[in-house]
Amino acid sequence: MALEKRSNFAHLTVAVPFLWLALFFLLPFLIVFKISLSDDAVAQPPYGPVFSLGEGWTVLRDKLAQLDLENYAFVLGDWLYIYSYLQSLLLAALATAILVLVGYPVAYAIARSPRGLRPVLLLLVILPFFTSFLIRVYAWIGILSREGLLNQLLISFGAISQPLEILSTNLAVVIGMVYSYFPFMVLPLYAALERMDDSLLEAAADLGATPSQAFWRVTVPVSAPGIVAGALLCFIPAVGEFVIPDLLGGSDTQMIGRTVWNEFAVNRSWSVSSALAILILLVLLVPILIYQRMQLRELESR
C-alpha cells in the first residue's frame, strides 16, 4: 500500500514539469504556429481565420483549408529577413566566443581560490542580477555614448582625441550581450572546473606535463561539457535578444528579435512575425539538440 502511494506521488512529481511545459511552452507555441499559418486581416484579432468552438465540422474544415505556408515562403524569399537571421547568429556567436574567453579565466580563478572565498566570488558574479536587466542595459548607454564615461575616460588619459562612436553600432550590441550573459557563462564553467579532481593535475604533472601542458591536455578537455553548457546558455537567448540590440544597436543592427518586433508592432503583421519566431525556434533547435545529446552522454559516463 505504502509503496503504491509513493509511486503515485512519484508520478505526480514527474508530471509537474510536463504540465508546466505544456501550459506555458507547448500551448503558446501552438498558438503562434497557428497564427504563422494564417493571413493578415484588418480585424480584431488582426489575422484570419479564427477558430471558435461549436462551428461544426464543415466550417472547421473550410477554415483549416485556409491555413498555408505562405508567410514562410515570404520570409525565406526576402533577403532582408535572411540577413537578419544571419546577423543574429553572427553577433550571438561572436558574443559567445568572447564570453568563453573572458568567462573561462574568471571561472578558473574562482574554482582555484580558497574554498571559503568561493561563495563570495560567485555572489559577486551574480550580484548584477539584483538590479533590473533594463536598467543595466540603459547604464551601458551612459558608458558608451559620445559623451559617455568611456570616451571621457579615454580622452582624459589622452588615449584618443576624438570620441569613439561605439553606441548604436554592432560593437555596442556585442559588448552589451557579453556583459549581460556573463553569469550564464561563468556558472556552468565554474561547476565543471570545481568538480574536477585536483589529483588529475597532479597526475599530469607526475607524468611529465608542465602546468600549461596539463591545463591544455587535462583541464580544458575535462571542463569541455561546462564550456558547451555555458556557450549554449548564452548563445540561444542571445540569438533572439531584443532589448540589447534595440537599446544599444544602430540602424544597421537588424537582429531577428528586433525584426519580429518590427513586424508585430510597426507593420502589424502578426502572421509574418509568428512565422519569423517559429523559424528562430527551428534554427535554435539544432544547438539545443546538441546540448541534450551532450548531457545524455555525461549522464551515462557517471
Binding site: L200, E202, D206, L207, G208, A209, P221, V222
Partner: protein, 388 residues
C-alpha cells in the same frame, strides 16, 4: 579478473634473500637526510632520515595523519621539504618540479583522465616525452599485457570496474619506466578478496620489472604482505624501520607493538637481570615473568612485556612444574574466526589476557567454552621487553 590462460611454469618462489640495507657497501637509491616539513606551526615530518635501496619494495605504514603521505609527496615533488635533503641516485631533488622527476606515482583515487581511453591514459606520459608513435604503441601494448588488460584499450575509465581502473592506473604510472614507483594506498578502494589477490600480483610484478616500489598504507597486513621493509610512522617520525618479521616479532616500542597485529601488554618491574634471562614482576600476574631477551635494563626499572596472543598456550589442564610465564583465569569472550578463535581470559585480579588457538579439529562445540577455567602459559622467548 580477466586472467588469460597462463603458460605452465615451473613454480618458483618469488622472493629470495634480499637485504641490501644490511650491506654497508650498498649505495641507497633514495636518501632522506634530516628532512623536516612544516605547515605553519604544524610539524608534519619531524627530522626523518631514511635510506631506500634499488629494487626494494618499501612500505610506509601508519595511521592517517602520521605523515606517510607527506613523505611520499615530497619524493614525488608535490611538497618541498622545509629542511633537510632528499636525494635520488645521488642527485639532490630540491627545487626539481614533479614533471622533471624520474619518479611516478599511482594515486589513491587513481586520477585517471576521464576524457581519455585506457590506451591514451597509459600513453599520456610517453607523449609528453615526445616518444615516436610506433614506440608508444608498443609500450602501451606491453603495459596492457603487464596488467592483463589487453582488449580494453579503447574503453573509457568509466566503463571499467574498480579493479580494472586500478590496473590502468598502475600501467600508466609504470609506462615511463620510472626509477621509483610511488603507490598511495593503491588498494584502498578494492574489496578484501581482490585486495589480497592484487597484493600478490603487485609483488610478482615488482619482482619481474625490478623497479623500486614505495607504498603508503594504513593496512598493516598489506604492508607485511608486499614489503621487504616497513617504516612505521607516528606523528611525523619514523618509529621503526625493519623487515615485516622484525616489526612483528621485535617491535622496538609500545607504539609499533600495538599498531601492528594484536598484542597483550603487561606492565612490570624488573627484578633480576642475568645475561639472557630477565625476571620481572607484574601486578597483573601472580607468577613471575621470565624473558630470554638481551637488554640493558637494570633491577627496579619499570618495563612492559609485549606478548602476542598466538604465542600463549591455552588449555583446560594446568601444566605441572611451571612457575613462571603462566596464569589462570576464566574465559569471558570468544571470537570464533573459523581458522582460529580468540579467547579473552579474565585473570583473578581483573586483568584480561588475549590468547588465540588454531582450530585444528572440526568441532561444532568449542573445546573451550565460556566461563571455563583455563590455564595460560608461554615460553620465555615469546615475550618482548619494551622499555616504558
Amino acid at each position: 579478473m580477466d586472467s588469460q590462460p597462463a603458460k605452465p611454469q615451473k613454480p618458483q618462489s618469488v622472493r629470495r634473500k634480499f637485504e641490501p640495507w644490511a650491506d654497508p657497501a650498498a649505495q641507497p637509491l633514495i636518501r632522506f637526510q634530516s628532512v623536516v616539513k612544516r605547515y605553519g606551526d604544524v610539524v608534519a615530518i619531524d627530522d626523518v632520515s631514511l635510506d631506500i635501496y634499488e629494487r626494494e619494495f618499501f612500505a610506509l605504514l601508519g595511521p592517517s595523519g602520521c605523515g606517510k603521505t607527506t613523505l611520499m609527496r615530497m619524493l614525488a615533488g608535490f611538497e618541498e621539504a622545509s629542511e633537510g635533503r632528499i636525494t635520488l641516485a645521488g642527485s639532490d631533488l630540491s627545487g626539481v618540479p614533479p614533471y622533471r622527476r624520474p619518479v611516478n606515482m599511482m594515486f589513491q583515487s587513481y586520477a585517471l583522465f576521464p576524457h581519455m581511453t585506457v590506451a591514451d591514459n597509459i600513453a599520456f606520459g610517453l607523449k609528453q616525452e615526445r616518444m615516436p608513435k610506433s614506440e608508444i604503441a608498443a609500450r602501451v601494448d606491453e603495459m596492457l599485457k603487464l596488467v592483463n588488460l589487453r582488449g580494453f584499450e579503447k574503453r573509457k575509465p568509466h566503463q571499467l570496474s574498480g579493479g580494472q581502473r586500478q590496473r590502468v592506473a598502475l600501467a600508466r604510472s609504470l609506462a615511463k619506466r620510472p626509477k621509483v614507483l610511488l603507490l598511495d594506498e593503491p588498494m584502498a578502494a578494492l574489496d578484501k578478496k581482490l585486495r589480497e589477490q592484487t597484493q600478490f600480483e603487485l609483488m610478482d610484478l615488482q619482482q619481474r620489472i625490478g623497479t623500486t616500489f614505495i607504498i603508503v598504507t594504513h593496512d598493516q597486513e598489506e604492508a607485511m604482505t608486499v614489503a621487504d621493509r616497513i617504516a612505521v610512522m607516528d606523528h611525523g617520525k619514523l618509529v621503526q624501520v625493519a623487515t615485516p618479521t622484525e616489526i612483528y616479532e621485535q617491535p622496538n616500542s609500545r607504539y609499533v607493538a600495538e599498531f601492528v597485529g594484536d598484542i597483550n601488554i603487561i606492565e612490570a618491574v624488573v627484578e633480576r637481570v642475568t645475561p639472557g634471562d630477565i625476571a620481572l614482576k607484574s601486578n597483573a600476574l601472580e607468577a613471575e615473568l621470565r624473558l630470554t631477551q638481551r637488554s640493558d635494563v637494570k633491577t627496579g626499572d619499570p618495563a612492559a612485556v609485549a606478548l602476542r596472543p598466538e604465542k600463549i598456550r591455552i588449555g583446560k589442564e594446568p601444566l605441572s612444574e611451571v612457575h613462571a610465564n603462566c596464569a589462570q583465569g576464566v574465559v569471558y569472550d570468544i571470537a570464533y574466526l573459523g581458522d582460529l578463535s580468540i579467547y579473552h581470559v579474565h585473570l583473578e585480579n581483573g586483568f584480561v589476557l588475549k590468547a588465540t588457538k588454531t582450530n585444528i579439529s572440526r568441532q561444532i562445540e568449542p573445546p573451550i567454552g565460556w566461563d571455563d577455567k583455563v590455564y595460560l602459559s608461554w615460553t620465555p622467548d615469546a615475550g618482548v621487553l619494551l622499555k616504558s
